[in-house]
């Protein structure tokens, strides 16, 4: 019989109230290592989405012309939100690998690794959104009360990303190549989600399939909340319920699987 007695296994853990602090410290130190204590290093990571934006903007605004109003904002917001999803899911596996030695020796709740990793990406997201804000002000857009819907979409995006990250990290120690496989899926997802192109160029009959992807709904919704004359029908309660439902299911599945498999991380990593 394996001891599953809650009161006993919990008493062997460090003080519960410090887990939040532990999460922040891991995120903070990981961040420091990644950018080698330099502001320049961090600016470089901010440049990545901007370069991507610049390239795509050149191709699809100068070479090919989509008929989209405020295409700059449209594209930038799509890239920023998708990048967050990609970063959380991919980096959490990297952090898990990097913390293997600690997981083998110290007993602490395993979800701390995934949450720490998501915090680092969250910081990048916020800084990216500041860049977006600058573009937003330069363009003629005005502030609206409906802009605040963005925060609900960010919450949905966070739940979705962390759920997916938990799912991937749960499988990672047993299937290391899932990282590479997921990289391909992220690329694929970037193109089947209306990030670069307007949804109007896609034949109506595919829309229901495209919007099965909660990320597509989140991105379209965020655009409608922020950019004038962009999208319709995404600021409805129905849309939020659908997104929350799908993201919730993914989170629940990811979390359960992670909880189940993380017990043997110490043996597999």
């Amino acid at each position: 019989m394996i001891s599953n007695d809650k009161s006993i296994s919990e008493s062997t853990l460090p003080h519960r109230k410090n887990y939040l602090f532990m999460t922040f410290v891991i995120a903070f130190t990981d961040f420091k290592i990644k950018y080698d204590n330099s502001i320049l290093g961090y600016l470089w990571s901010l440049l990545k989405p901007l370069l991507m934006f610049g390239t795509l903007y050149l191709v699809f605004s100068v070479f090919v012309r989509w008929d989209v109003e405020n295409y700059r904002l449209y594209l930038l917001l799509g890239i920023i939100l998708w990048n967050f999803f990609a970063e959380v899911t991919l980096n959490s596996m990297v952090l898990l690998e990097g913390k293997g030695a600690i997981l083998k020796k110290i007993n602490f709740p395993r979800w701390i690794i995934v949450i720490s990793s998501s915090l680092t990406s969250l910081l990048t997201l916020l800084l990216n959104l500041i860049v977006f804000l600058i573009f937003f002000i330069i363009s003629t857009s005005h502030f609206h009360l409906s802009n605040l819907f963005l925060f609900i979409y960010l919450l949905e995006l966070y739940i979705l990303s962390v759920g997916m990250a938990l799912f991937l990290c749960a499988l990672y120690p047993k299937f290391r190549d899932i990282h590479h496989i997921w990289e391909v899926f992220v690329q694929l997802g970037f193109w089947i989600t209306p990030i670069v192109y307007p949804i109007s160029i896609v034949s109506e009959k595919y829309h229901r399939w495209i919007f099965l992807n909660p990320a597509a709904r989140i991105i379209q919704g965020a655009r409608q909340a922020l950019i004038e004359n962009q999208g319709s029908g995404f600021l409805t309660l129905k849309n939020h319920l659908i997104v929350f439902f799908i993201a919730g299911v993914i989170f629940f599945v990811g979390f359960s699987l992670y909880n189940k498999l993380s017990g043997s991380f110490a043996e597999d990593l």
Binding site: M1, I2, S3, D5, I8, S9, S11, T12, L13, P14, H15, K17, N18, F21, M22, V25, I26, T29, K32, I33, D36, A101, I102, L103, K104, K105, I106, N107, F108, K174, F175, R176, D177, I178, I181, G263, S264, A266, E267
Partner: protein
């Protein structure tokens, strides 16, 4: 108090370990063969509060596995562990250290991993620096320090955790004479404070000096248990 009841641990060691989906896919029709390795077989013992328990045995006898199970890092295949207080969850010195961070940041990271709060780390910080003797290197990157210094830092942080139960795995093997003396002093202090310690070591002198009780593990079983002289003399005579 720590109670270890009927704990067994079986590792399945595959002949060929598959880490990726590709490997699994390629060998889809191959049979998965593996060796069963009984690291621990029905281990039973109890450590009372304030006791200093030593665990000795040959390499591969299951000492570290046992310690990891008590720490909660590994799950036992069967049996159960219970304890009445938090266990300082460290097994090896400096496990969470990051070479690219400064000594200061490493204290923060390692302390947090051991379950300390921000305030506790703040309170202990000066003491840790002093005890490890690294006053001059606070802002240096850890990788630029000698391995001895790193171990000293690890030990100092671990010792500063005021957990009533400590698990110690082979820490005295490193460090110079001065540092070993510091460690001994720290152990003596723990003893006076009535902390419970489980101590795995090949350093028989230290075992004899500190432990009230010693367990000799052999191929996952408890070979002998009792006061340190008896168990040590059996261990030594077995080796002959």
């Amino acid at each position: 108090m720590i109670k270890v009841e009927n704990v067994s641990k079986v590792f399945r060691l595959p002949h060929e370990r598959k880490y990726t989906l590709r490997q699994r896919f390629v060998s889809i029709f191959q049979k998965n063969t593996y060796e069963k390795f009984h690291a621990l077989r029905n281990v039973n013992f109890e450590v009372k509060s304030g006791q200093f328990l030593g665990i000795i045995g040959r390499n591969g006898a299951g000492k570290s596995t046992l310690l990891k199970i008590i720490a909660g890092v590994l799950q036992p295949s069967s049996g159960r562990i219970s304890s009445d207080g938090p266990i300082a969850p460290f097994l090896e010195l400096g496990v969470g250290f990051q070479g690219d961070l400064s000594v200061k940041d490493n204290i923060l990271l390692y302390g947090a991993l051991l379950g300390l709060s921000r305030q506790q780390i703040k309170d202990k910080y000066d003491w840790i620096i002093e005890f490890s003797g690294l006053e001059r290197f606070v802002d240096a990157k850890l990788k630029n320090l000698s391995s001895g210094m790193q171990v000293r830092l690890g030990f100092s942080i671990t010792v500063s955790v005021e957990s009533p139960i400590l698990l110690v795995d082979e820490v005295l093997a490193v460090g110079d004479i001065d540092f070993q003396k510091k460690c001994y002093d720290a152990f003596n202090k723990f003893k006076k404070q009535g902390r419970t310690i489980i101590f795995v070591s090949h350093d028989l002198v230290a075992i004899e000096k500190f432990c009230n009780r010693v367990i000799l593990l052999n191929e996952g079983r408890i070979d002998k248990e009792g006061c340190s002289d008896e168990v040590l003399s059996k261990y030594i005579s077995d080796a002959r």
